[in-house]
Amino acid sequence: MTAGPKSRSRVVVTGLGVLSPLGDRVAALHDALMAGERAIAPVEAFDTEGLPCRLAAALGGFAPEPYLEGGNLRPLDRTGRLAAAAAGLALEDAGWTAELRDEQEVGLALGTMFGSVKTIAEFDRRALEAGPQYVKPFDFANSVINAAAGQAAIWHRLRGPNATIAGGTTAGLQALAYGRDLVATGRTPAVVAGGAEELCFESFLGFARAGALAANEEEAVPFHAERRGFLLGEGAALLVLEDESAARERGATVHAEILGAATAFDPSRGRDPDKTAATCARAVRAALSEAGGAGRAPLEIDCLSTSASGSPAVDRAEARGLAEALGERGAKLPVMAVKGSLGEALGASGALQTAALIEVLRRGEIPGIAGLDRPEPGLALAPSPASSNLSARHGELRAGLVTSVGLDGAVSALVVRSVIGRMGASG
């Protein structure tokens, strides 16, 4: 017979692992965002000669060794190393030791847009240029899109469900929602969830050819009146999501609670800004409706962590969608747009936005948007530059909303609640 009715359990965040161009600790990232820093610089990892855009936000000095000790790194490509390193930081922060991971099956849900298109392309080029018998088996193992999730699971012995979630720039947020479901339904006690993406020539060229990137000298600040496109980024953010009562029982520090999540789709695939805005509003309403589920106090959102990146049409549509779903009060809320500082990190972005928001809820101070000296007039939201003291204006931060507007029709939303003063000393 079918199992009986199952109540969904509460899911909290007990670990944060961040590898960003502005720091490998969420506290450092927060400080940099508060200071209005931007990690944008000329690309050094590959040749951008002849391309209209030569800027990106790279993890310039990333070396895996400080994060991943005592194992053979050779089988892991760059994306695998980013995912494994961020997972390690998250597990360490959460106190999920190797012993605990041997006792219980911890899951992994990794969002990524490309996996490693660089590894796949190099594998194929070697077959073309040297001959099919000269390809490397290691490279083939890493050519599947779920390679990074597999490598991270091997490194940290994560034996639970192991999902890779694509979804373009919504992948990171979708992976968080997916991981939350695995915990909420009791399938696994904890899931490491988030996203990872590397910067590489193959995807850079594609975005440049698509005309999506701001050309050199052009403005790439989210919501800016003169913005012409976004700049690419890279990085990883992984969160340990855990059953709330189990987390309390083992005395874990709880950083935040995930209250609701949803994804909606626009069949015009982003070609019509009106539909993008409406789809954004639908995703936000669905996530809020889930967050305000039965038996919960009415929820007040106090901060928005948007996916605005500098894309003229998408930023505007996201603002309209948020304002439509959140009403008059929502349109005045403080607005974060970390892609202005970190670039568009594709599958990692939603998770980076979420980690940054959680730190904002914990610290009680909100960064404005770096470089936003002139917001677009008539915008449906009211974003502020980094220098403005948003926190003093807005008081207590109870909950925040993360949105991720994809370039291909999908829009995801996630509601995060602060646990400050809610879960006792440990929270």
């Binding site: 490309f114 694509a166 050819r209 005309g211």
Partner: protein, 406 residues
């Protein structure tokens, strides 16, 4: 009560035929989908046989989008999705598009776009490279194209968990329906035949030179294939209310990771056994209630031996009694589509009381001592079918399908 979720539509595009009935009859007849590879030149390789989908014209299936605007895996997926909706009697029926969604799985997404990129790159024609790696290659475009084609505005997810991806997609769709976040889901998997995939498996020495013989003592490997399958999933209550044909119920699933090696399975079949056990436990089904296992059954010496070990661990004394067959003996390994196709096989087995065979079987292997339904389809009432899939990355996924009793 948790909502029961049923399968009401099946669409398949496979090396042995397109469409639910053609595909199913071909499998029951033991038809082979193997032939010399035509998609690319294999002259520099030691193997030359594949399981390609031939005579597939996407324009016959794609109605609202331009088939040329999408990659081959998307074409296969969109065709399978259209076939599934038509099969479910939903082709023309009004439904709330905001409550309808898509979850698809894949191994490689649209690798032909990387091949095109490289052909130009290697020829020194970087200037001719366009935006394809961004607009056509990323695997989420498969789910996006399908949802766009049929106008579904709800959940939209792509789960590229390699050769277990179809099962992962079905499992996620099941959760979305059970939790009431959707009322109709298309779930499945798709992959296109590609030189990248073929070259890689050839280099690993995993490809059989001529024929795929799962569980046979003389098995020499798998044969790469391509295809797509999409299932229509909806709450049983709604399906009954609209008088739909119900193939079977999706009873539950189990997911695990070996966390052992990227391409080599755990030496004791630990991960696969844990996925099967989790599926049975969470569905409240005892091992002895399972009447058919659709094996991952790739035909490689290692997979089939370890899968047998895992089946023994889970089914104990009953392991030799339960029929276990591999349709990869006919379809080859269709990668991310495989477990979606095999979930369709499980549903059709439960619906029809027939089990497709493991073809090309000659010599029993003492290390694969299961009832593999050799060479001939079998009439056999199927109450519960278990669909097993294993993948690169140590991913394991088992989906349980139960016969529907009206």
């Amino acid at each position: 009560m948790e909502r029961s979720v049923v399968i009401t539509g099946i669409g398949a595009v496979t090396p042995v035929g397109t469409g639910r009935e053609v595909f199913w009859q071909a499998l029951l007849a033991g038809r082979s989908g193997f032939s010399p590879v035509q998609s690319f030149d294999t002259s520099k390789m030691s193997v030359h046989v594949g399981a390609e989908v031939r005579d597939f014209d996407p324009a016959e299936h794609v109605r609202s989008l331009d088939p040329q605007s999408m990659g081959r895996a998307s074409q296969l997926a969109v065709a399978a999705g259209r076939l599934a909706l038509d099969d479910a009697g939903l082709g023309q029926v009004a439904l709330d598009p905001e409550r309808a969604g898509v979850v698809m799985g894949t191994t490689s997404g649209e690798p032909l776009e990387v091949e095109l990129y490289n052909d130009r790159y290697v020829a020194g024609e970087v200037d001719r490279i366009g935006s394809e790696l961004v607009t056509r290659y990323p695997c989420h475009t498969i789910a996006a194209q399908l949802a766009s084609e049929v106008g579904f505005m709800g959940a939209n997810a792509m789960i590229p968990t390699a050769c277990a991806a179809g099962n992962y997609a079905i499992a996620h769709a099941l959760d979305l329906l059970r939790s009431g976040r959707a009322d109709l889901m298309l779930a499945g998997g798709a992959d296109s035949f590609s030189r990248i995939t073929y070259t890689g498996f050839a280099r690993l020495g995993a490809i059989a030179p001529e024929i795929c013989r799962p569980f046979d003592q003389d098995r020499q490997g798998m044969i790469p294939g391509e295809g797509a399958a999409v299932l229509v999933l909806e709450p049983a209550e709604r399906a009954v209310a609209r008088g739909a044909r119900i193939y079977a119920e999706v009873a539950g699933y189990g997911l695990s990771c070996d966390a052992h090696h990227m391409t080599a399975a755990h030496p004791e079949g630990d991960g696969p056994a844990r996925a099967m056990e989790q599926a049975l436990r969470t569905a409240g089904i005892a091992p002895e209630e399972v009447s058919y296992v659709s094996a991952h059954g790739t035909g490689t010496p290692t997979n089939d031996r370890l899968e047998t070990l895992a089946v023994h661990r889970v089914f104990g004394a009953g392991a030799r009694r339960v029929p276990v067959s591999s349709v990869k003996s006919m379809l080859g390994h269709t990668m991310g589509a495989a477990s979606a196709i095999e979930a369709a096989v499980c549903a059709l087995a439960a619906w029809s009381g027939k089990i497709p065979p493991t073809m090309n079987f000659r010599e029993p292997d003492p290390e694969c001592d299961l009832d593999v339904v050799p060479n001939e389809a079998r009439e056999h009432p199927v109450e519960v079918a278990m669909n097993n899939a294993y993948a690169f990355g140590g991913n394991n996924a088992s989906v349980l399908v139960r016969r529907w009793h009206p």
